[in-house]
Amino acid sequence: MTAPARPVNMHANGTERVRKATWRDWIMANGSVVSIAVFFAACCLLFTLVTQNFLTSPNILNVIRQSAPLLISAAAMTFVITTGGIDLSIGSILALVASLSAALLQLGVPWPLVIVLMLACGGLIGAFQGFFIAYEGIPAFIVTLAGLSVVRGVALLITGGYSIPIDSGSPFVVIGRAWVFGLPLPAIIAVAMLVIAWIVFNEARFGRYVTGIGANAEAVRRAGIDTRRTTLMVYVISGMAAALSGIILAGRLGSGSSNSGQGFELEVIAAVVLGGTSLFGGRGTIIGTVLGALTVAVLGNGLILAHMSPFLTPIVTGSIILIAIWLNFRLFRGAIRTR
């Protein structure tokens, strides 16, 4: 089993077959992330030039603070989508957690307990859905669509449709509003979560198996890995991330309402897909997701700063995204189609 050394090579050696990888190769290999990064930078540049307030630190901090729930949930959704799954229930979990935490605080439950209970609640809903998906083999789309309906229904039932105020003196609202070292606390939480997500996704076994399941679940199973547990965990993570988003949002709004987070799931999925993660599974990127989410947030912020008419906003937003992605696909085409 020793390597067959090749002492007397019979073939005249031509040029070296493999050249050193250049930065161009790197860009092509990471086309989707580079593409969204370029797009993000272009948006920022545009708004900096067009508006006066975009590139001011209060505005930047605002954008990050506003997008904390989006960033956190999108990082979790990257795991879900990379396994080839989807989680449509996160907007509803966010609403349930927001209303339930407001209700519990009103009942006098101490705020640290509320936070722990709410994270557990999100994780439990995720585990429940994950069970049907991973162990019973029901398509994630159906399970989480049912979850979307049921969970928001429960939120509605709890609040009776009323939005429940949270006393602005409660330390709970601090999570949504406080500033620490000149930075908004939600932003700090979001960055911490993103760093953890990046490490788990890229540097830990778990992330490796998540990618593997999306690429070829049967191969991962045959490698002796408990793919069902991994898949279930992914939905637990997603549920907990949605719960954390709900806590931050309730704190920021100072109220819990079953109305929150409508369409949140679509916004999150859009951020993830925009970042280059494939809905077919097997290809995910946390960096891309962060850029995708920030792009969505910056577009929303910048168009208002640019005094865009609200009637034109949806038209312009959609067009910008399409045109920019298109240009990037043209530039980095080599990366996408290697025929």
Binding site: P58, N62, Q66, G161, S163, N259, S260, G263, G300, I304
Partner: protein
């Protein structure tokens, strides 16, 4: 007897208060009340009305999303001998037996006039105003139109800076309101055309630390709005009487059933809630 109430959604307090008022009145009158929530989907309201017609309910209360789009269903109901009472949004040339609610354009003008007077007396006659609307809501558009008209007529020196779309969802309204304030640092007043928009506006002013220099005007009280009024930076809120509207609608249908006649338009007046009269509403939000 069974009455059916077809509503828009259950995520705005306003609609739930209609439900509560109607339920109570139904109980008092000894009739059954069933409620259908269309979740903001216009055609779902038609579907529900048609279903109630096949089921031959005795009357339908309707909070319409698309005021034109529900007309055929109302006509069907009328043909089947089922009276329809519209709440909150009037049906133009509709076959409904009655309308109960606010004349949103008129009430918009009312708060607009109040606003203009406030600008003249308290703000030296000039102001810049930003609007948080819900472009997908027919009546909230009317409220904005009425408001703008009254302000223009008043001759006050008011500049409308931007209108942002809160889409009738709290968190969307919040983000939009925050960005609106960043975009217009010199903005001195805010107008929110409905409940989610007002909650978003109030949270935004609070979180941006602008309670000192932005005055908020809007529609539909909530606990947060009451607090803002107490603290003095929410100036005036148009309060409708949704529970009263629900109650009146049930009572009207019961009357019709008995063969009595009812007014085709029952205007429920609005109250402009300020620091002076907020106490009488406080009880609703404990």
């Amino acid at each position: 007897d069974t009455l059916a109430l077809v509503t828009i959604n259950q995520q705005a307090l306003f609609f739930n208060q209609i439900n509560d008022g109607a339920k109570e009145a139904a109980k008092a009158a000894g009739v059954d009340l069933v409620i259908f929530n269309a979740n903001n989907v216009p055609s779902a309201q038609n579907d529900a009305i048609e279903t109630y017609i096949t089921q031959k309910v005795d009357g339908i209360i309707l909070v319409a999303i698309d005021v034109n789009g529900v007309k055929p269903a109302i006509t069907e109901a009328k043909k089947a001998g089922i009276p329809v009472v519209a709440i909150d949004a009037q049906i133009p040339d509709g076959d409904n037996a009655a309308f109960i609610g606010v004349d949103n354009t008129a009430a918009g003008e009312e708060i607009g006039k109040f606003y203009a007077d406030y600008v003249k007396t308290e703000m030296g006659g000039t102001a810049k105003i930003g609007v948080i609307g819900a472009l997908n809501s027919f009546i909230q558009n009317q409220r904005l139109d009425g408001f703008k008209k009254a302000v223009a007529d008043s001759g006050a020196n008011v500049t409308f800076v931007d209108t942002v779309d809160g889409q009738n969802v709290q968190d969307v309204a919040l983000g939009a309101a925050e960005n609106l304030m960043t975009a217009n640092p010199d903005m001195t007043t805010l107008y929110a055309t409905g409940e989610p928009a007002l909650i978003g506006a109030v949270s935004a002013v609070d979180s941006q630390g602008r309670t000192g220099d932005v005055k908020v005007f809007g529609w539909d009280l909530t606990a947060q709005a009451v607090k803002g009024i107490d603290e003095g930076w929410v100036t005036a809120v148009v309060q409708q009487d949704p529970a009263g509207e629900g109650k009146a609608a049930v009572e009207a249908l019961v009357k019709l059933k008995k063969g009595e006649s009812i007014e085709p338009v029952i205007n429920i007046p609005v109250t402009i809630v300020t620091k002076d009269n907020v106490d009488q509403f406080r009880g609703m939000f404990q």
